[in-house]
């Protein structure tokens, strides 16, 4: 009995002071730094630990938004990553994710200010997935895993704090996207029948790398009772061709395939490129279908080309318009069609740790 009391008192003495922590958290809210959730108050020793994971100079500018005249330095990225709840060792992944995102024309343009309120879709490949404890299996879109949740949040805080783009002010999302600043997939390379996604972005050889694009939302394709892979592809074709999301003659979608669908296509002898090409050749709607939805001008290309009322206007122009990623558990044939905002840069960024 006495021993129990003593142990309890010792534990209380060793534990952090919750009242102090709460004051620090509230302080961060009062400064307007938070995305709505509590922030980890960043101190110099914590941020120094982040900066120690990279050879980059803290003052190096890693992103600029010309229209708001603001720059992001390595130091500011580190403060925001710390506040987002990242561990210091995640920082090279944050830097790679930010670089990958800033390669997107839409991100450098008005993406973060846009009424469409797009969310970054971040994809991690390579050994860093296991080293840092990313979720590579079920529940790929989260939540539940610290690196998957905090790394995209760090990007969101950088946009808010370092670029100064706040909701209702310079950020004008009409409704925004569920999961904005929280989508970070670690590809299920172990159960994918194909090359890792980073290889499609030019980083092969098992090097850890991050790819990123912006998405306007996603829709599931649940097809788990069909033995014929072409039937399943037709199901994807239907979802990809939804007129509601089409505003230009061409569009881009990412296919986030569950292992079961990916393995089904591979078992039918299809490479990733075969799946892409099958869909590129077929996805689209007729001119009439566009017109009846009030979008008769959408399939008219800038040069005036219009295939006609009865022709199918193809909406995907090449493999860069339909990146394919494998993620999730091998427990049901459920995949996701992710609508890309703008166009994926087609590149991956290696994760560079301190030498």
């Amino acid at each position: 009995m006495t021993a129990d009391l003593t142990d309890g008192a010792a534990a209380a003495a060793a534990a952090p002071d919750p009242d102090e922590a709460q004051r620090a958290i509230e302080y961060c809210y009062e400064q307007g730094w938070s995305d709505g959730l509590p922030l980890v108050p960043a101190s110099k020793p914590l941020v120094d630990a982040f900066l120690a994971t990279t050879d980059k100079d803290p003052g190096e500018i890693i992103g600029s938004l010309e229209q708001v005249g603001r720059d992001v330095t390595v130091y500011l990225a580190a403060v925001n990553a710390a506040m987002a709840g990242c561990k210091p060792e995640y920082f090279p992944v944050v830097l790679a994710a930010f670089e990958a995102l800033m390669r997107e024309r839409a991100a450098r343009g008005g993406g973060f200010q846009s009424t469409s309120g797009p969310a970054p879709l971040i994809v991690v490949n390579g050994p860093v997935r296991k080293e840092l404890g990313f979720n590579t299996a079920g529940g790929a879109f989260g939540p539940g895993f610290r690196p998957n949740m905090t790394i995209p949040r760090a990007i969101g805080l950088i946009v808010r704090n370092a670029f100064g783009i706040h909701p209702h002010v310079l950020e004008q999302a009409t409704q925004g996207v569920p999961g904005r600043w929280s989508i970070c997939i670690a590809e299920n390379e172990e159960e994918s029948p194909w090359e890792p996604f980073a290889e499609n972005g030019g980083v092969g050889g098992g090097v850890s790398a991050v790819s990123a694009t912006l998405t306007r939302t996603m829709e599931f394709v649940d097809n788990r009772h069909t033995p014929d892979h072409e039937d399943v592809l037709r199901d994807f074709q239907d979802t990809i061709g939804r007129i509601g999301s089409l505003i230009f003659p061409q569009t881009s979608v990412a296919l986030v395939l569950c292992p079961e669908h990916a393995q089904m296509f591979a078992a039918a002898g299809m490479s990733k490129a075969d799946v892409q090409n099958w869909l590129i050749e077929r996805c689209g709607r007729t001119g009439r279908e566009f017109r009846l939805a009030g979008k008769g001008n959408v399939p008219r290309k800038p040069d005036g080309t219009f295939a006609g009322e009865d022709e199918v206007h193809r909406i995907l122009s090449g493999p860069r318009q339909i990146p394919v990623i494998v993620a999730g558990a091998k427990n049901a044939a459920i995949s996701m069609v992710v609508r890309i905002f703008g166009e994926w840069s087609g590149t991956a960024v290696p994760v560079v740790e301190k030498k």
Binding site: C28, W33, A42, S43, E66, Q67, V79, Q113, T115, L170
Partner: protein, 188 residues
């Protein structure tokens, strides 16, 4: 001494707001002036601005030239600003009807003003907060622009003309300063 909580904003002033942006002096009237239309490519922006231009021709005998924005989402490049400022006495730009393009319309306005050219930027009323924020960021808090009701993109041709006519007085008021111009002349 406890550690300080670090500031994630960098506490830096935007480079865009390095100096308080001046507002260009206004002419007393638009009579015979050169009006540049900077069309941002959004749906109905072209017919809207063209109708504003046509009404100004009718009413004030202005000459109108048109230019399309390079990228509606961001401010115009310096060389475009320079060229348009050299070729026009006043500029009308718009129609800002989205998050980035309304901010860009305000930013273009502030930059042209600094180059000595009065601007009437037209945005839809939904985007006042973002236009105001961008103007402040660019060193021109309270920068004045004209508004029209949101949305513009769905309007018919006739409705666009009606809107252009409705906003015309505001555009003229933004571009001219009869009293100020008179006193400048009196002082000169």
């Amino acid at each position: 001494m406890p550690n300080a909580i670090l500031d994630p904003t960098g506490s830096v002033k935007s480079k865009a707001a390095a100096a308080a942006a001046p507002r260009a002096p206004r002419p007393a009237s638009l009579r015979g002036k050169r009006v540049g239309l900077l069309i941002n490519t959004k749906q109905n922006a072209r017919p809207f601005l063209e109708e504003v231009g046509r009404l100004l021709e009718d009413k004030y005998g202005v000459t109108v030239t048109k230019r399309t924005k390079v990228n509606f989402a961001v401010p115009e490049p310096d060389e475009v600003i320079k060229e348009m400022a050299a070729e026009n006495d006043v500029i009308v730009t718009g129609v800002g009807d989205c998050g980035s393009c309304s901010a860009a319309a305000a930013a273009d306005g502030v930059v042209f003003e600094a180059a000595g050219v009065p601007v009437a930027a037209i945005i839809t009323d939904s985007f006042k907060p973002t236009a105001d924020a961008m103007a402040e960021l660019r060193g021109a808090p309270g920068y004045k622009y004209a508004t029209t009701a949101h949305p513009v993109a769905v309007l018919t041709e006739d409705q666009v003309k009606e809107r252009a006519a409705q906003v015309l007085d505001d555009v003229v008021a933004l571009l001219t300063d009869p009293a100020g111009a008179a006193s400048r002349e009196a002082g000169a």
